[in-house]
Amino acid sequence: MKFAPLIPLLPLAGFLINGLLRNKLSKTVTGIVGSGVILVAFLLSFLAFTDVQAGQTQVFRLFDFISVGKLHIPFEFQVDQLTAIFLLIITGVGFLIHVYSTAYMHEETNAHFARFFAYLNLFVFSMLLLVMGGNYVIMFIGWEGVGLCSYLLIGYWFKNTDYNNAAKKAFVMNRIGDLGFLVAVFWIIQLFGTTSYQAVFSQLPGSFSATDITGITLCLLVGAMGKSAQIPLYTWLPDAMAGPTPVSALIHAATMVTAGIYMIARSNFLYVLAPHSMQVVAIIGLATALLAATIALKQNDIKKVLAYSTVSQLGYMFLGLGVGAFTGAVFHVMTHAFFKALLFLGAGSVIHGMHHQQDMRHYGGLKKFMPVTHFAMLMGCLAIAGIPPFSGFFSKDEILVAAFAASPVYYVLGLAGALMTAFYMFRLYAMTFLGQHRGDAHHHPHESPKAITIPLIVLAFLSVVGGLIGIPELFMKDGHKLHNFLDPVFKASQSYMHEHVHPSHSTEWMLLAVSVGLIVAVIVFAVRKFSKPQADTEATGLGKVLENKWYVDELYNTVIVKPILAIGDLFSTAIEKSGIDKLVNGVGKGIQYSSRQLRLLQGGNVGSYLLMMVLSIMLFIWLVFYIKL
């Protein structure tokens, strides 16, 4: 445990080594350093995890970060159950992605290769800072750090303007969320006088006004929306596919997007005291889940489908958080990390094998070319679709049951989302691996090297069995190990939850049956439909709308971006140049003008000079004698 502060420092060291010596190191060394530090961090995390499991949590206070007057913000790390879980996910999945990258990015030059690993390490560092931070400010540091890294990685191929735009978009949208977070932090400081989790939560429930708590939680939610790609700040995530595929995997699975979930889970005590905020969280989550799922239905880019599926799954997690199933949400984070990393890396493998072709319409029949990838992807699809006993089933089920407890409407909509998930995932599966190969004849797809497939296998394994740590009561008494493990984090707040009527076991069985049955039906339908080549028809009606992602990007562009640019133009031309500056220059011009006029008084004519003098004399006489002061 005492080595815990080293966990984030190791990736930082890796970043510095790779970053500063990028021109000197060979790819092998870079890869070893880059992955090695994460591996060590993972091992240390595991040690920490075991300590935590033994009931030992600790706060490391390193130094005073900001200390002014009454405000003290130490640089502190906190390792507890929630952190431990996230540490394992981040370093574990992160390590696999690093390994994978050594092969995937091998075509880059030395310096760029090193740069890539430096960014990856920095990314992990930031994320570790985020989850290990002992107060909101440290969390915010990591929070912005991941934003920065996503910017750097999405724009990794900086020659391409579209990629740069995607990177910029990611950063800016994250910043919108960050502002919300920042405001929340200020509010917390004002309300509690501190930002340390323990100090803040120990003051709860206290006698704080509902407005304050609701305000704080809503502001935090805004932050979470940005980072975890929820409506309305989700559009950056699909665009973030511009980065190399391992980056997508890292962003979507292990890091970044889970930050929002982590933050809300971390602030659970605040949220349970603000039921309205909870409701908002749930509704936003649900809406995001559905919206993203509908969009995913019609995407043809393999990474885009996965991206929208991520958004959708994150929506589920938010739904879980919103209905109070914090454990469920964290559980889903974990399983999602496994299978989404798997899917992305698998997709990366496919793309790698297909020579950077990402359009699924050019795939088909890859089963025989890339068996390992195919197997792994199938596992991933099954897991995300929620087929028992794959991991996704348990976590998603837990959220759906909790949603049902909150409101049957949540459940029905959630289920609809789950069905769509199953549909588009198997659409992806079928279009990619089944049927006939539709790509170029002379570009033969090939299986990927070991460094790619081994992580796939590991992740596939985890996707299959990962759910077993959270077996619901229904199947096994005390089967939910994760729940028990996380209990200390959520225990305090649970007693203030608005008790939902927990559905009876029979209801639960029925729900399970319905959902599994429907999902299987959908899968069968999807596989059948998409194994055959599709007619290349122009989509119409709703299809077209979905294909164009509900035109949300266009909407944002028209409603927000363009007006802002227009205002900028207005300011810089109308107000700045011909307004304020003209006014300022006008003073000067006015003086010059009056100068030209005034000098006409000096007509050169003595007579008029004398006349003006006499008139002035008269004026003064009048003033002195006839104006009473």
């Binding site: 130094f63 200390s67 002014v68 405000l71 919108i176 920042l182 200020f186 000067g588």
Partner: protein, 479 residues
């Protein structure tokens, strides 16, 4: 005596340089002098002063009761340190630049330095005004002589604009002097002066106008983009890095303590204007194609935040302003250094004509990216500390102000990233030839980067520099 050496070393060296004709010798002397000043400043601020800050006083104009009195309290420590550091960086970074009549250029730069040091140290109103103007005169010559096109008109506008502000301040100074108990210019007696409500309104506004123009605060900012664009880059660095701090410093030293009631009464209005300025400048910055103007507007936005925070009437914001003064100075000098390198080599300052420089100048790119992110207050860089504290303080004053002002961090990201993208990213250009950093530039930027991270990760030493001042102002706020 040590304090007066802050002023006299550059002053005398500057006068000397007018008569030295060899260019390299001139550059060497300037750098050596700035390093010497830096050494003295570092020594002076490291002296544990106990409760009484370092000070120096000597009768100057006996019958006017004006003394040559200097005071090194918290704000002065930070600003003098900034001045000393800035000039070292500037001389280092522009080592390769060629100037016609270089000796005059460097002499004027050193005179500017002397003036700035004087402004930050004086504890006597008349002396303050003296240096206030003196810092301006060399800059006038620098900009008019070595600036870009339209330099004469632009500099002139800048000069007259700031001059108008300062003459009004002079009226204020004299009036207050007249009202002091024993007709004295000393800072202490100014703080003790008792004014009627009407007088306070007038003279608060007089002082404030001078400072607002210097900062510059919306809507008095229009001289600034033009001046930054046309001034020689070395001078622009002085202008943006150090000189705009004169306005803020003036508020800290002469406005808040002298007009405490009025400061809190007018705070709302000033903060609103500052915030309008922040958003306004940010929005304009987004639409700039000229990289120098972009940085200029970004500076207006940053300064707006600082001025808003100064009036937020709480210690966190205040302390935040203090260290942000330093950090902003360092960061913006870093930005200018990069811009200067690009402009020296390509002659282009339009972003739309640049692009893909990252291929040719990776070190330059990395440095710029770091500085740019520090400029938009990314955590663990120095910019974050100050802005966090300022927003925090502003939030305590009025949450809505903080939220609205906070929009600027989004807009800042937009324009800064846009700039990085347009200048450095994209396809490699066939026509643009840019060499990577030469050692002197590398050293300057590396120093800046180190400072960025040092102050961003462990800001405590900087924060402590300002702490002393905190008590002073806290005392006057409660007066």
């Amino acid at each position: 005596m040590m304090l007066s050496s802050f002023i006299f070393i550059p002053l005398l060296a500057g006068l000397l340089l007018f008569f030295v004709k060899q260019e390299n010798l001139v550059k060497g002397i300037s750098l050596a002098v700035s390093l010497a000043v830096l050494a003295v400043v570092l020594y002076a601020i490291s002296i544990p002063a106990g409760n009484a800050p370092l000070s120096y006083s000597r009768v100057w104009l006996g019958s006017l009761n004006s003394n040559f009195s200097l005071l090194l309290d918290g704000p002065a420590k930070i600003t003098t340190l900034l001045t000393a550091v800035s000039f070292v960086l500037i001389f280092l970074a522009t080592w390769k630049n060629k100037y016609a009549n270089a000796h005059n250029y460097y002499a004027l730069m050193l005179l500017t330095m002397a003036g700035l040091m004087g402004v930050f140290l004086s504890a006597d109103a008349l002396l303050f005004y003296f240096f206030w103007e003196l810092a301006l005169i060399p800059v006038y010559f620098l900009c008019s002589q070595w600036g870009g096109e339209k330099r004469i008109a632009v500099t002139f506008k800048f000069f007259i604009y700031t001059f108008v502000g300062s003459v009004l301040m002079l009226i204020g100074i004299i009036y207050l002097y007249n009202k002091t108990a024993h007709h004295s210019f000393a800072w202490e007696s100014f703080k003790a002066v008792v004014l009627t409500a009407k007088e306070q309104t007038y003279f608060f506004l007089f002082f404030f106008l001078a400072f607002a123009i210097k900062m510059p605060l919306f809507p008095f900012h229009t001289w600034q983009p033009d001046a930054y664009e046309t001034a020689p880059t070395g001078t622009t660095m002085v202008l943006s890095g150090v000189m705009v701090k004169m306005g803020l410093f003036g508020v800290i030293r002469w406005l808040l303590p002298v007009f405490p009631d009025m400061s809190s009464k007018m705070a709302g209005c000033i903060i609103v204007f500052s915030i309008i300025g922040i958003l306004y400048a940010s929005l304009i910055a987004i639409r700039q194609d000229n990289i120098k103007r972009l940085i200029a507007y970004s500076s207006i936005a940053h300064i707006g935040l600082m001025s808003a925070s100064l009036f937020a009437n709480n210690s966190i914001a205040y302390e935040g302003v203090l260290i942000q003064m330093f950090n902003h100075g360092i960061n913006i000098i870093g930005l200018w250094i990069v811009v200067d390198i690009i402009e020296q080599q390509t002659g282009i300052r339009k972003m739309s004509e640049l692009g893909g420089l990252a291929h040719q100048a990776p070190s330059l790119t990395i440095m710029l990216v770091i500085v740019a992110f520090a400029n938009i207050a990314l955590p663990l860089t120095n910019g974050f500390i100050g802005e966090f504290m300022m927003f925090n303080g502003l939030f305590q004053y009025n949450p809505w102000y903080a939220v609205v002002a906070g929009i600027s961090i989004i807009l800042a990201a937009v324009y800064t990233l846009g700039m990085i993208q347009k200048v450095f990213y994209g396809e490699k250009s066939a026509t643009l030839q840019v060499k990577d950093l030469v050692p002197a530039q590398w050293l300057a930027l590396a120093c800046i980067v180190v400072m960025i991270f040092a102050a961003g990760v462990y800001p405590k030493p900087l924060l402590q520099l300002g702490e002393n001042a905190l008590q002073v102002v806290a005392g006057s706020i409660s007066k």
